[in-house]
């Protein structure tokens, strides 16, 4: 007999059905609780109970509570990417496109501001899997940089060719900086961060334009060389 719900283990299918299901159940429950009651108040026991499992079971799929947050972060990243790919489809001026990308990120993250404070705590820890520079968050990082690559690619503004290659990564660093500010931004609705994006975008735009000017070429080149060495 072959019940419709169970799947035969066809050689090609590596992921067992049950495991994947449990894993998703844990993530979904965790994300929901994180969202509803914050990071600290969401305990591993709470997640397990709400999902109808044991604590240890969650640890079979995720090495730590932080890794659950990682999953959460990835979700947000996907949303942010989705929110702006449409609006970056047609080429346009650099500053406009950059504003779309930064704006989408800030807007997507907005509901999680309270939560992000706890999140960043582990994100900046050097060895942490949640570090934006870690191997584990490579997918999320590359997606984010991919968006900024799209910003640069479809830009009608003239960009110094030497700068162009590294610009997406540099913009991503700017984005990290904005995020860092945003996390600490206690103004109502994080309006100061909105202000920061609003004003920083033209500044970056001007800096990018200026990098082509003869007087600043060497400075630009030197800064880029340093950046490459330190990466």
């Amino acid at each position: 007999m072959e019940p419709a719900t169970s799947e035969k283990s066809t050689g090609a299918d590596r992921t067992s059905e049950r495991g994947e299901q449990t894993k998703r159940l844990i993530v979904d429950t965790a994300v929901r609780l994180f969202r509803d009651q914050g990071y600290d108040k969401t305990t591993m026991r709470g997640i397990a109970q709400a999902a109808g499992l044991s604590v240890g079971n969650a640890y079979y799929y995720f090495p730590s509570k932080d890794h659950l947050v990682q999953e959460f972060y990835a979700t947000v990243q996907v949303d942010a990417a989705a929110a702006c790919t449409d609006r970056l489809a047609r080429p346009g001026p650099f500053d406009e496109r950059l504003r779309v990308a930064f704006g989408a990120m800030v807007e997507t993250m907005a509901p999680y501001h309270a939560f992000a404070g706890k999140f960043i705590k582990t994100a900046v820890e050097p060895g942490s899997p949640l570090s934006p520079f870690s191997a584990e968050s490579a997918p999320a990082r590359e997606r984010a940089i991919g968006i900024l690559s799209a910003v640069v690619e479809g830009s009608t503004t003239k960009i110094d060719p030497e700068l162009r290659a590294d610009l997406p990564e540099l913009l991503w660093l700017c984005q990290m900086g904005i995020t860092l500010y945003w996390v600490h931004d206690t103004s109502p609705g994080q309006e100061k961060t909105a202000l920061l994006v609003d004003r920083a975008v033209p500044l970056i735009d001007r800096l990018v334009s200026l990098a082509r000017m003869p007087g600043l070429r060497s400075l630009n080149r030197e800064a880029l060389k340093l950046y490459r060495m330190l990466r």
Copy 2:
């Protein structure tokens, strides 16, 4: 009878002798253990035992383990300040002085690199007392900015007067950035951070000089205005 060790409670002296003694004992023990065996392996029970006290007693003086680290951080800051005030006594070129300040900081922190990873974890948390922007760390912050003020004050390089007022704080932000890089720097002896300081100082020097140029004045002014709004 009046034992020589005990002090009469003269009205002016608010701090009781015994309390201050215990407090210092706790800090000293904690700092020693942090240094010897790292942050994670140093437990509150361990500190209490090594100091010959109970766990609860430490909590009578310090609200959390993090606050003990705060004390540790303050110590390092004082050392860093002491390490460069001499060398900043006589005026000199801006870049030279900046190098002294940044160099002193990196060198002073060097022994605590492994420890700093755990430290920064709580330092970036928005509400944390260890946050470099928090009220609790105001003394340490002001000392650090004070050094950078001295760098600017005694500088023989011409500096845009509008920039001059905010420059110490901006340099302090640079310093925070360098620290952030340093914490994540896994190169042997943190040589990459040394490289960063070595190369970033001339870049900053050039940027400061360029801020006076006619073509960049408006950009400079706009950036400063933004900075003041966001502070």
